[in-house]
Amino acid sequence: MTNPMSGIFRGFDIASTGLRAELQRSEIVASNLGNMHRTGNAEKLPYRRKVVVFEEALNQAKEAGVGKSDTGVGVAISRVAEDSTPFPVFYQPGHPDADEKGQVMSSNVDMFKELVDMNIIQRSFDANLKALKSYRGMLQNTLQQLGG
């Protein structure tokens, strides 16, 4: 830790990791919704739903005894995985993606699931934003009371 003030500003950093992670997750959901109608067949596979996996970010410098209150430093996106659910198959012989039997594979995105996910992300984003505002209020009060 090079910045001696990072202890007090750490609260902002933690909240911002949350905001960033939720925002990136919402982009993946938007991408799922945008590609949900991309069909395919056995040669050219349709769109596979993407899932974001989060992980907890811990302070690496904690062992060096920098400060016991700075144990957790927020959240991070560990990877973007693929949903392994099988593709639903429907019968439509005239479809450009249909094979010789008239079978077309559609993407494994479930629109309602994505919409629910989007709502959850919005709530989480708001909670992180609220946390950020609270922390700012605390620092502002500190300046007012002890700033001389």
């Binding site: 992670a21 209150s69 144990t71 609270s134 009060n141 002890l146």
Partner: protein, 115 residues
């Protein structure tokens, strides 16, 4: 009365605890969608009570950050509303302790400079 260091030690440690609790709560909120995450909690008030009961100095009590391991194995135990309430409570308490510290310094100023 008379030693600024011992007079403000209690307020200082309380502010430390509240600051740490705010950060831990923000960390919990940020990790509410992480599978298997266990929330952090900051212990202070109960240790203060123990110190009072056993006749120790309350200025010597320091906050402890630890994991709350309640909930099932591999299950996230963050409840968003609880964390937000805790954060609001922490914010208020922090404001109160700051006013207390500010008042103390004002009094000291008055005692030294007469204004």
């Amino acid at each position: 009365m008379g030693n600024i260091n011992t007079d403000t030690a209690f307020t200082e440690h309380t502010l430390d605890a509240l600051q740490a609790r705010a950060k831990a709560t923000i960390h919990n909120i940020a990790n509410q969608n992480v599978k298997g995450f266990k929330r952090f909690e900051v212990r202070f008030e109960d240790m203060l009570r123990e110190a009072v009961d056993s006749g120790q100095k309350i200025g010597s009590v320091e906050p402890v950050v630890q994991r709350d391991t309640s909930g099932g194995e591999g299950q996230n135990n963050v409840v968003m509303l609880e964390e937000l309430t805790l954060l609001g409570k922490t914010e208020l308490m922090h404001d109160y302790m700051l006013r207390r510290a500010g008042g103390y310094f004002k009094t000291m100023n008055k005692a030294i400079f007469g204004r």
